[in-house]
Amino acid sequence: MTGALRVRVWRGGEDGHFEAFDVPRRESQTVLDVVTYIQRTLDPSLAYRFACRVGMCGSCAMTVNGKPRWTCRTHVDRVAEGGEVEIAPLRNLPVVRDLVADMREFFDKWARAKGQFAPTRTRADDFAVVKPDSRERREADAGIECIGCGVCYSACDVVAWNRDYLGPAALNRAWTLVNDSRDAGQAERLAAVSGDAGCHSCRTHMSCTEHCPKQISPTRSIAGLKRATMRIALSGEGDER
């Protein structure tokens, strides 16, 4: 494969600008390959983030031609429009520099959604038995492959409108734990994911589900949380919060 690809890359912070580069086309070239070529060959000052290059670590997500994507598994063939690609940092997150977004609020919200496992057993206890075909196990399985790339968070309009909104990934994580029969933190977790910042602000646009590179449906998880939190509405739990 020959020819050149016209690439417009975001440079600077929030008030930065796009800078154009010409990158040689290669067969099976990914967007991450393009960014790496620019950094190693054309401009070593370009800042970006990656680690595994095989869709496991969730660190290379960027906005490619206006859509959030994992760049290591996104082929240029599929996204180039008229021989051009525009690459920007993830939306809905502060820009550190160039293509690097500040992921702190994204992961802080996982903690606020009580995304930590709260154990009920000690090492003296026997293994917990979780039947693979139980409803809870299957619900958890549907959401558990999240790699924390931030694509859904970047795609979500509710995050843009409401800065407190926990976002699809944190709520999806909470839902996998709600379905964990070994977990002891359910009342606290359901309170944490309710209300204005939580699952009830989801407008079911399904942008998260549409863009998730792992084909997870956070929308489905959030719908599950809405059902689960009905208990709070109908009982006295959560009054003090």
């Binding site: 409108w161 309710s194 209300g195 602000s201 709070i232 509405a233 006295g236 739990e237 959560g238 009054d239």
Partner: protein
């Protein structure tokens, strides 16, 4: 604003949406059925006056609409105008009450 209160508002909005879906269908079907061959104000009042069933149906319709609109506007105010807190709460509560009063007054006018 407690978590329970927020969730209850959410449940109320979903529940009133279900009521509204039913009421709107009945309302539209009734209109389409009733206007066949023309309709006058006198004919409408002839059917609606003293009709307790109709009064009850439209009273439920009005209350569901008032509650649904209030909660919805509260969300719109928060997300699009950044207007939250006590003042926003009172404003939408006032609007809900106004809608309910105007609507119930209209129901009373055609059914009583």
């Amino acid at each position: 604003m407690s978590v329970r209160h927020e969730v209850r508002l959410w449940v109320a909005q979903r529940a009133t949406a279900a009521v509204l879906a039913f009421c709107v269908v009945v309302h539209l079907a009734t209109i389409i059925y009733a206007v066949r061959g023309g309709l006058t104000a006198a004919e409408i009042l002839e059917r609606t006056r003293g009709n307790a069933g109709l009064a009850l149906f439209y009273a439920v319709f009005v209350l569901a609409a008032a509650i649904h609109a209030g909660i919805g506007l509260r969300n719109v105010a928060a997300e699009w105008l950044g207007w939250r807190g006590r003042s926003a709460r009172f404003a939408v509560m006032f609007l809900s009450l106004l809608l309910a009063m105007l609507g119930l007054r209209a129901v009373w006018a055609v059914c009583a």
